[in-house]
Amino acid sequence: MFHWLEKNPFFFASAISIVISFAGLIEILPNFAKAGRPLVDMTPRTVLQLAGKNVYMKDNCMACHSQMIRPFKSETDRYGKYSLSGEYAYDRPFLWGSKRTGPDLHRIGNYRTTDWHEEHMKDPAKIVPGSIMPAYTHQFTNIADIETAYAEAVTVKNVFHTPYGPGIKSGKAAWEAYKPTVLAEAKKIAADMKDERVKSAMAEGKVPEVVALIAYLNSLK
């Protein structure tokens, strides 16, 4: 049979395709619907938090930080309750990470404050002596793309029926109407911050990246 296959490339390629497809079909498909269920009463992230998640992705925080607390006492002591599948149901993409050069962040909102993050993003080694994390000072001057975050909320609402309220609709007009909600949320975060650049950007109606990022980090609980 093998000799025959080796002379018939079409069937050879078909045989490979069949043999390599098994695993995906058996391991991934059966659980798909079940693993997609959110926890009871869970709400999706706000637009500002989504913008912060996008900053998290842009600066690729997951290169060094996980968001997956494993069910060991040493982990629950350090980070809090172990992670549940349903908690991630609205996360597109998942941001579990694969390396902990820095600590896990899945419940960082429980034990760090806006003020702590502000100082830490400016100079990590000042807050945590010995830290090898670089400072992310550009997040204080770069402006977060909240429109794209809104577009993302609209997309997941329309395509995946993620339960966003009636205010999230497609189109420029809907966005302009919704924008003050995002700015109001950002103001609350910025109120706890000291940086002058953040204050002046907020006064102009712009949200610096660091504000969105902190909104996101505070929501990780």
Binding site: H3, F22, G24, M57, M62, F72, D91, V159
Partner: protein
């Protein structure tokens, strides 16, 4: 079997991709060395402002090495050995030549553009699949072009039976196509939201645990079908060709090939042990990882036994040395992987530096060594010149071997130290170390790793220099060497 004496093969495409292999190899390893140094000396994060942080550069390192260096190497060797084992010159078909050139330019420009996009922070955050949707489309196009090219060449072949290497290249094409397509399913937000925000932004089709499963089914098997399958295909061609020995066992080749095809894909979930994916999937991942030793070692042993009775070649032909060391490192990393996939070991190893350590003994020791050996074998035949310097090859070999050993030993120690410190408790059951203690303790190992990066990169520069000198000023050959590559 026909004689190939009358056949003149067309190496223009193989040459082009060989240049890219060297270019992307250099860039990928340079960035790798920089980010390794950043972990030991964090001040190095500020060389390029926002664009120079470890986190921004890391995907550039991985993607340039995977999709730049390795994929170029796969293309280069395919356009060289594909013709030879199928006994047909690609120039016999104008269509395939044009296709190949489109593939080359699309790939070159696409790779550069995608790298810039990563530098600017456009990323889907899925490891080794960070490219945003427009670049994914370019990747798919390139892959389809290559697929048509493979099928086309097979279609006009003279040698009816497909040689083992062709099995592996075919599998590489099919496997990567399937994995890449499914893992990169994403929806551009701009079009669904009525033209809002950034047109490049997209969201994943899958969420949470499902996304993780699809990602690691991809991530693990991108390694399978990018770093293992085609590289095995290379060694099945280049080792017999260079040594003049026949493959030790056809049956072992069969077992290893079909075994690898069936088993590899199941093991993806070992990246998700102790996570929120169902327990039975984790157990399957662990179990199949252990089974995977069989087909992996099958190929490696088949290669080592191919040298049976001819081990003297190891002492006087550095090219054989590269390939034998490559298969040895393949054995090392395919026994290390299954060990890490055992749940209790994984509890310590996961999230630590042992994982990058494992990746690098596989990639630096196996993939890069094999691709460099392939280029050392091909260039004298494509340019009809002798290798410029055997001495330089020897020096490079030992320098890079030392570098690989430094890399994985330091990362073994770092990983296990960190894993043990995270879980250490005092006599009252309280955690003994704060997180930062487990970071500062790693400094010496990070420094050793950075040094190993410098050594390896230096070796690669020696390689590039040797190859370029071979192309331009190696002694000219009047006829193609039968087996052993001539070197000065």
């Amino acid at each position: 079997m026909q004689s190939n004496a009358a056949l003149e093969y067309d190496y223009s495409l193989a040459k082009k991709f060989t240049f890219l292999t060297i270019l992307f190899g250099f860039l990928g390893m340079l960035v790798g060395t920089i980010i390794a140094a950043q972990m030991a000396f964090p001040e190095l994060n500020y060389l390029l402002g926002e664009y120079g942080t470890f986190s921004r550069l890391r995907p550039i390192h991985t993607n340039t090495v995977v999709f730049g260096f390795t994929v170029s190497g796969i293309f280069a060797t395919w356009f060289y050995l594909g013709q030879r084992v199928l006994k047909v010159s690609i120039a016999e078909s104008k269509f395939l030549m044009v296709l190949g050139n489109i593939q080359f330019w699309l790939y070159f420009v696409g790779a550069l553009a995608a790298t810039v996009s990563l530098l600017l922070g456009y990323s889907t955050s899925k490891e080794y699949a960070q490219y945003e949707w427009p670049f994914d489309i370019v990747v798919v196009l390139i892959w389809v072009l290559w697929g048509v090219s493979i099928m086309g060449l097979i279609g006009i072949r003279r040698e009816k039976a497909l040689y083992i290497s062709v099995w592996y290249y075919l599998a590489c094409f099919l496997g990567v196509a399937m994995l890449y397509l499914f893992n990169n399913m994403e929806i551009p937000t701009y079009f669904v939201s009525g033209g809002l925000g950034d047109p490049l932004h997209s969201v994943s089709m899958y969420a949470g645990t499902n996304d993780a499963l699809v990602q690691w089914w991809y991530g693990h098997n991108a390694v399978a079908f990018g770093f293992t399958v085609p590289i095995v295909g290379m060694i099945y061609y280049f080792l017999p060709k260079e040594s003049g020995q026949a493959i030790y066992s056809y049956k072992l080749s069969l077992l290893s090939f079909w075994g690898l095809m069936f088993v590899y894909l199941w093991a993806g979930s070992h990246h998700l042990l102790w996570s929120t994916v169902p327990d039975w999937m984790q157990t399957m991942g662990s179990a199949f990882s252990v089974v995977l030793i069989l087909p992996s070692w099958g190929s490696a042993i088949n290669m080592l036994l191919t040298m049976k009775g001819e081990w003297n070649q190891l002492t006087d032909n550095p090219l054989i040395k590269f390939m034998v060391l490559a298969s040895t490192f393949y054995m090392l990393s395919t026994i290390e992987g299954p060990i890490q996939a055992v749940k209790s070991v994984n509890a310590i190893a996961h999230f630590t530096d042992w994982i990058p350590g494992h990746v690098h003994d596989g990639v630096l020791g196996w993939v890069v060594f094999m691709i460099m050996a392939a280029i050392f074998h091909m260039v004298p035949r494509m340019f009809k010149r002798e290798i410029y310097s055997k001495k330089l090859m020897e020096a490079q070999f030992w320098l890079q071997t030392t570098a690989v050993v430094l890399y994985f030993t330091s990362m073994w120690i770092a990983g296990i130290t960190q894993g043990m410190m995270w879980r250490a408790v005092d006599e009252y059951g309280n955690l003994m170390y704060s997180f930062i203690d487990t970071v500062t303790v790693l400094h010496p190992y990070y420094a050793i790793r950075a040094l190993s990066g410098v050594l390896y990169l230096t070796g690669f520069i020696m390689f590039a220099y040797n190859i370029i000198k071979t192309m331009t000023s190696g002694r000219e050959l009047t006829e193609e060497p039968q087996f052993r590559t001539p070197m000065a």
